[in-house]
Symmetry: D2
Subunit: 340 residues, 4 copies
């Protein structure tokens, strides 16, 4: 069986997860090269996953130029995504790139151009939620007409308080709630409604962690959007949920409603104790999205092997980033904004 | 509107609840007399509920002979139930009697004779679960054929650990798990299956509270029954559930299954905290069965006012008591027993 | 025991419910007079509830002047609420008035003046959700600090599709989603956040029933509010939920989250069938709020008997009405509005 | 990295699943040989999974003797398990064998002897439920003392009505409910209670499918067991659940209770429709146990690579089979039986 030979750039926490998936959990892929700007980190991962030191790099460009590599998975910091895409495309390699596409809309547009220049190469953006099993089940029901026309999409994304230390450390360079976190919900809203926001108003504040103020951000924010097709969309993003990593999505339709993960748990265990009847929750996004990270890479690989267009694509990256920035602008100005 | 004039004998915790229901919560009843062997207790309740001191008694017989009284609610200790029924019937009064009917099968049979002697009087036994809204919903579905034929009935009855002090104090004179607690489930099983046990085997032990051993009892017991119509029935009774007053019933049918109160809660509140997503539970049987206690008295009153036969009746009392004793015998001998 | 003598004006569906509660389900109240502009309807209810024909009226003013009446329950159409309050206050009677206070803000302010003129009289507005058991449980937890500071309140109010015929008939004279339906959520938001909206933006549309357009309304609407204390609030109101009468409220706090009625059911029965594991839902607001309607009247009566101030009060009526109109204005203009 | 080279014997539905897991989903294993008594079937699977035709067999003995093979996974019909174990052990190969160990207790004892003869080889039996994530979570809590001492274990195993056609076809040669289906629950009970049944009584009948009578079986059966350490255990097995593949386990302890999979669903989607709020259920055991099948093979491999003893072992096979036969005997004689 043909296996797609993938090189990975960036092996931090999520990059390492992708590397393992590529090497071990997907029948149609194999990992052939590893890059990290910290060479020792790359080498360690390569050793563990059985990649020869000949294919370990600290330069993304070098990895892209490795003739063994057929496709590149970019899991670096956001601000180097577009540069890496450029290297990969220059070398004629397919690209799977983590979200968000870039840290500015300008860079997103640059990525658009790069991608447009080589329609023969497959490009897929890492909005993995689209590939989570529960979201797939819901999407199928929607597309099947089970809930009629969509009226409202509601999205919650909350990190758990149990990881707040790491959250706060990363916060200053994360891009903020809208660009870092809500962008997932923005993508879901676009995907589910098949539309773009016409108007939006974002609000929020520092309810517990005042330091977010210094970063022109809030620890909890929300936004109401009116989509061009009149669907209503509301999202909420928080940094310190008491119960766990809580990503919930609800789609209210004219004939029914779907709710995804209102109880965010990864086991089927109910605990009956003095606290009542309890379901314990995910504390960790990698646990929550384990299957989705595998599935999106499988799908990307299928597209490469079959030469079919992937989604989400580069335009989804620009769109979600533009909207996230508009949300941030609305939040900072505290005013209703209209998208062009 | 005609109101049924009821005298109550026994105003302990449950008797007081019935007294309030009769006086305040049921349009068709009024409380006209109060008796307790502790006269002061009776007087206090009478004062509170606006009953004249002329109708306060320490003798059940006297209350039964009060000409104002049309029907008698017996909420005394089990060992005086039959005596009180005798007084009431001698005075030509309708009777609502709390469960269990009596503390021996012989006394149950005596009660049967008394009741049979006056078919013009209405007699109803206080197995209130039959009148709980959720059980009514389930019974209607079963009778409607929604779940096909019944295969298995599973019944759990657990008192909460939060009331263990009172549970242990009452235990020596309670009659034991089978006669005091499981008798409710025995009634449910008979009611739901419309059949009687052919064979049964009861087991259990002292898992936490060794003192039950001294009372020839267990703190947790269970029993498997084969009904005469081949339906399987399993019940479990415990005295110290961590989460609350947990009475759960499941009816597995050939076309569907019903579960009643798998999460025993009286509010619609979910609490998301470090314990996960939790539903808090009843700690108190009066909270759990509040509506059922009202409903059964309303139904009793309707039967009296319309002169229609009530259920559960005196025969249900004998049957459930006989079965409970058989369970205890099976438990003590640790052997399978056949009901005649 | 002292019983408060209440006269009721308006015995439609909800008025009849209140009448029965007053007469039968609350120990401290009795119904002494009944009024309906349809005299025959009033007479029929009076007969049923055992009220003498001497106390049956077709004029609210006459009922208010009945010397037997100590307090008046106003359950008429919204547009006569203030007139009835005026009669009651002129006659020196305490007032329980159904929501909304009035159909215009001007009339609300008139009611304020009337109520202010007689501080010795008790006035309570019928936002019954505050007295629902689950809301009481939640409020107690919030006030106890269990969830820390409030970040977001989310409120859903949906009527079921099963009653759409009646919904559509009533719609043209209902005042619209914001004034008729969302006003409950507006009251909840004010009550839970202890604050007032600073800014709000309401949107919506006709997703299924185009006729709402003719009434300058939507069949589904939503609104995002920024409260003066920076809490975020979002509400959604729909007219045709597939599953039932679905009123859900969520309070996200810095230390925990509470959700009320995410599964809107009145029984503890789970149904396992080919549709999966299902909880059947309320189809009827009277079932959902049965206990709350009793509790609010009990509380009102306590306030009258103890001469203590009631809540929600007349100012809550003006506030919620003003906000509802602001929502409607925002919806019609499709713009962000600032409350003075 | 060292990969364990596994040959598989039997590539029916479950065998194919194991083959894919070995080849694709477990980093430390590779599939090197495929056997099926239907050679074409073996060849087709080998081709698909990239195994050379040189390593395709129709004889289990031949596969065992393939020098490439280090360990053998036996997924044949039950009646050839022991024969295959014998071949594998004769060839000095480690063995993973599907449950049940054998179709008679005698054969189980023969397997015991074979396994005992080569303590240097690792043997693991395929009771995969022990390796399901939810069961692992529960077991950890139990071992941690979170629920105190175990009082009762309740196990349900139900196949869905949606697959009844296949169920009925397979039934005559399945060994019956106790040996084929309840054996999983018997293993769970032994594993969870760390004890063996002292006494047991099994009942049941043909509630829907009368043909089970011809096979000396019931379509639904249950059993109450008293364990040697006094823990109570109850299991129920059914062949036609309306909602899905429903395997539920409950462990009631003196300090808390755990319930596993009371709602047997693989997605986090709630569907709100006219049926209420529903969770759709598994229809397929491979979906339910997908992760467990992978995990048990990973664990087996770890034991082989580290030369540590595996569980469940061959003695667990004999024990569960003996108990299952005792259950069947109890069912057929309708009497209480004592285990030696």
């Amino acid at each position: 069986m043909k296996k797609l030979k993938i090189g990975i750039i960036g092996v931090g926490r999520l990059g390492y997860e992708h590397a393992c998936n590529i090497q071990y959990r997907i029948p149609t892929t194999e990992l052939v090269a590893v890059c990290d700007r910290n060479f020792d980190k790359a080498a360690k991962v390569a050793d563990e996953l059985g990649i020869s030191r000949d294919h370990v790099y600290s330069s993304g460009k070098d990895l892209c130029n490795d003739p063994e590599v057929e496709a590149v998975a970019i899991v670096t910091n956001t601000d180097s995504h577009v540069e890496m895409i450029e290297y990969a495309y220059a070398a004629g390699k397919h690209v799977f790139c983590e979200k968000p596409l870039a840290e500015t809309v300008e860079k997103c547009k640059k990525a658009e151009k790069i991608v447009a220049s080589r329609p023969d190469l497959i490009f897929q953006l890492g909005f993995m939620r689209r590939y989570d099993y529960s979201y797939e089940v819901a999407k199928k029901k929607i597309d099947n007409g089970d809930i009629g026309d969509i009226i409202l999409v509601r999205c919650y994304s909350q990190d758990p308080i149990s990881i707040i230390k790491g959250t706060l450390e990363y916060a200053p360079r994360s891009g903020g709630q809208f660009i870092d976190m809500s962008i997932h919900d923005i993508d879901l809203i676009r995907w589910l409604t098949k539309s773009e926001p016409a108007k939006l108003w974002a609000i929020g504040g520092c309810y517990e962690f005042k330091q977010y103020k210094d970063w022109d951000d809030g620890d909890n924010v929300s936004c109401l959007m009116q989509m061009k097709n009149d669907i209503m969309a509301f999202f909420f993003a928080g940094r310190a949920a008491a119960h766990g990593s809580a990503v919930e999505t609800e789609i209210v339709g004219t004939r029914g409603t779907l709710r995804i993960a209102s109880v965010p748990t990864d086991s089927l265990v109910e605990v009956m104790s003095k606290h009542g009847v309890c379901r314990e929750c995910y504390q960790d996004f990698l646990t929550r999205w384990h299957g989705a990270y595998i599935k999106e890479m499988e799908v990307f690989t299928d597209h490469v092997l079959n030469n079919t267009p992937a989604n989400p694509g580069v335009l989804d990256g620009t769109a979600s980033t533009s909207i996230a920035f508009k949300c941030k602008e609305s939040f900072l100005k505290n005013t209703l904004l209209t998208m062009e």
